[in-house]
Amino acid sequence: MRILGISAFYHDSAAALLVDGKLVAAAQEERFTRKKHDAGFPQQAIDFCLQHAGIDFRDVDFVAFYDKPFLKFERLLETYLAFAPRGFTSFRMAIPVWLKEKLLQKTLLRDEFKRWVPDFDWHNKLLFGEHHQSHAASAFFPSPFEKAAVLTMDGVGEWATTSLAIGEGSELRMVRELHFPHSLGLLYSAFTYYTGFKVNSGEYKVMGLAPYGEPRFKAMILDKLVDLKDDGSFRLNLEYFDYCTGLRMTNEKFDALFGGKPRKAEERLTQREMDLAASIQAVTEEIVLRLARSVAKENGVKNLCLAGGVALNCVANGKVLREKLFDNIWVQPAAGDAGGAVGAAFAAYHGFCRQPRTVNGHLDGMDGSYLGPQYTQSDIETRLTAAGAKFDVLSYEGMIDATAQALADEKAVGWFQGRMEFGPRALGGRSILGDPRSPSMQKTLNLKVKYRESFRPFAPSVLREDVTDWFEIEADSPYMLMVAPVVERRRRAMTADEQALFGIEKLNVPRSDIPAVTHVDYSARIQTVHRETNPAYYDLISAFKARTGCPVIVNTSFNVRGEPIVCTPEDAFRCFMGSEIEVLVVGNCVLRKDVQDPSLKRDYKDTFELD
């Protein structure tokens, strides 16, 4: 049985294909269109999934869409009615769009499917899952658990913003929900907006900014903005927010509370933004922890699955892990809306089609999240040659050796191997790598390679068997969704003068044996690397360890700021020639910057809209 899951029309469109209950392919549309967070219909992602499985659209038994448009329409309508006559301007602008996109969404989808199958039986084959059901299914069904509590936290789906489900075998039962407009994701997005970052893409920058500040607004947020109960449920005070009927997240009352207008994008960051980031992060952690505690207490279930955009807050995830409320925690790597495509497909397979589920020991069903396209060695060579690249073709061992040596020589290395990752994190398929021991690596990567904000930290990939030697974590973290501190004996305390620095200055102060991946509060967003899921990446880190004694490397996504992660060898070569990456490794091809045709260099910094 073949089920195609689709997410589209809001942000992060994606497609995923299940064949007999196994996830065989998944990809985000942005990687193909090169438009970050592309919300359009995922035509190319669907093409890829079908082509990878060697099937035609006609062979698909069901297509599952990740939310229910009528339910969303109901929420939009009721919200405007609740606030009327306020919000009439935005209501009037929104009507034509809603009528078409929500009420006629089935027709929109049918018309898209016609490009593959003119007479597609959409009456019987097109299914719609609920948004939170899709998220929960994406977190539970591919997890390695027979039974688990599933917590989904995001901006909003149709009505639900926070939901609890219990998964057992092939059943997934929704238990409780919190409804719009009371939303943890929208609260975090409100602060994202207020601190001058882009909503739905800047949230993790706020998370990265938080350690620079003091949570001096936490009490005020909990007093004025959020009514938080012991069990983690909450209501927001809508007097301070504009997202229900307006076009902004926050309003003048919010500005007055926090002492000024929102920061404009690209304006200089001040202590106020850092403290706001620290405060909202602390509030979010408090809410997530209370939710996790009440879930653990009420259900007595030993495993927890997390999904929804807020589950990308890996700092909060790390705190839940350290509280040891659950034996195991599993986070869907594409916890945001792209993962809804995966969940919709799983929900259709196990829920609608009532198919049984097999749990495979400790292995999960995401295959390391390496679910995207890959290229054969000969294809890579052909494509790189056509792009004008000069490269050496080595043996596999030679390539591993050369790359490990380049890393040890403190070069920034573009690494392109195997299948592309699904989800926002690069996991050693499409990564830029560096030596974490280097005190200058962070500066080099931020300013010369990724062209991004200077305060942002980098994250480590570490061999699984060595993780406890370097970080205070004992669990797997294959998807870089857990944050834990560097072990104490590898840290270096900062002096008072060093503490007072900000941004790249503070980040550049060596804080441990691996300064490039240690954030200013000694934390790190960890990826544990497992031989079973990514042998080439594992071999590379092992070779680096053999040379240097360090089983950790810097892993950042292979893209510049505002660009989606690279997908094809050509994308990789373009990014290589447009930044100061010194070595590029694509399959067994090794490219060095100094021998490339200088006319192929490009000014890449301004090519993409800043995110």
Partner: protein, 48 residues
């Protein structure tokens, strides 16, 4: 026709019949907005 039937089924399941008048008016307004941009446009004026 399928849209009307599905909307009706939806309202029945959700027990939100009070949405019906609003949706009907919005669909009619939407249709007007679309039709005024077509050749029928000038004739809509005469209805009012």
């Amino acid at each position: 026709m399928w849209l009307i039937k599905e909307l009706w089924d939806f309202m029945r399941v959700r027990k939100k019949f009070w949405l019906l008048p609003i949706i009907v008016v919005m669909v009619m307004l939407g249709a007007l907005l679309v039709l005024t941009k077509t050749a029928i446009g000038p004739f809509i004026y005469t209805i009012f």
